[in-house]
Amino acid sequence: MYPANYKYSQEHEWVTLEGQTATIGITDYAQHSLGDVVFVELPKLGAKFSAGQTIGTVESVKAVSEIYSPVSLEVTEVNTALANTPEKINQDPHGAAWLVKGRATNPGELAKLMDAKAYEAYVAEKEKEAGA
């Protein structure tokens, strides 16, 4: 379910690094919790963010959720296709519905994030809490 080459934040974003380029999205757990996504607001090209800062919002029918950048980065590309097809976030959150790409300005931050196995345990715990 959760790609092994991605890292995951406690706020349910994923990030993967290719060279210096970080790609960021929200996790399957996040899209499922939100429900039908209807609107995405993404940052401007060139914008700079530190890890943990808000880089945009994803809105479903019932809720607004802020997206926090899991790593520090300078935005080089945003997924403009999502403006007209926000539902892709529900369909392919780990793939085609990536949100932002950027130059990771402090790649060492990735080490602080969870790997797939740790994230799976983390969401399993969340689901247990919600079910209790």
Binding site: S33, G35, D36, V38, T57, S60, V61, K62, V64
Partner: protein, 349 residues
Amino acid sequence: MGAKMVNFGGWDMPVEYSGIVAEHMAVRTTAGLFDVSHMGEIEIYGSEAIALVQHVTCNDAWKLSDGQIQYSGLMTESGTFVDDILVHRLGPAHYFLCVNAANQDGDFEHIVTINRFAAEVDNVGERYSQLAIQGPRAREILQRLTAVELGLIRYYHFTRGAVEGVASLIARTGYTGEDGFEIYFSPEHSEKLWDRLLDAGASLGMIPCGLGARNTLRLEAGMCLYGNDIDRTTTVWEANLGWICHLEKGLFLGHDALARQQATGLQRILVGFEMTDRLIARDGYPVLSGERQVGRVTSGSPVPYLKKNIGMAYVPFDIRTPGTEIQIGVRGQMAGARIVKTPFYKRPK
């Protein structure tokens, strides 16, 4: 069932099953089934039952005949809402109120406290479960499980009869803007009726629906949600619900305050609006007119059938006219919106 649950007034309630959009669209195009057993029920009976009902509500219950239902407001002395309710006349001396879950005990206390009539009041929520079958195919589906001729039950009327052998009150009401039925029965039959109704409707595309779709459907149909759009601070005139208020019926709780407000005029009124850019208004967001904050959004959401971002808000009376441009503060940005007529959606006849 894979439902996402939320705690709502002490009840564990499903927010959604297959997704709010799919559920909303099912109700608009075929049918949806809602478990609304959290709703409260209060019975009023006795020789002066009608006098008590008339005293605590703003609509005119004298207009009801047996088997008829009316939407009404349970009023404070200020003419504001203790609750919005459905009054069912079971008989000339017997009324059945369907009330909001979170208000049930408060409503009961309120009615008992001001009861100076020969009338008994019973808080009977635990004796009833309620299922709502809503949508253009609702009648056809429910008909598969009952010998009662559903076509003979007019809108806002009810009858008693068996559904899958379960004694029920079958009402042609709903909170979705579609044709449909709300059935009340003894709680031990809940699971059985839920399962049988889903089976009966599956081939026609009926699906289970949660509180999320219930909210988007009622908003699209321009119906108020207690706690959001109406409460103890909003009068029946301000809520634009004058059609359920009959001052001429005689004195009732809130009558004088409402008569005064009618004479002096309103400062504000509840209107519907739709967003004119892509941003979404949510509950509580500020409403602005000419740079000045004039109110707050009471209900705001994208709605799946109209595919618009809409909402309701109290605005100054002089800017209430449909077509008036307003702004909504969306997380620090000013977003354009326009006041429109409600209901936003009206089902085709």
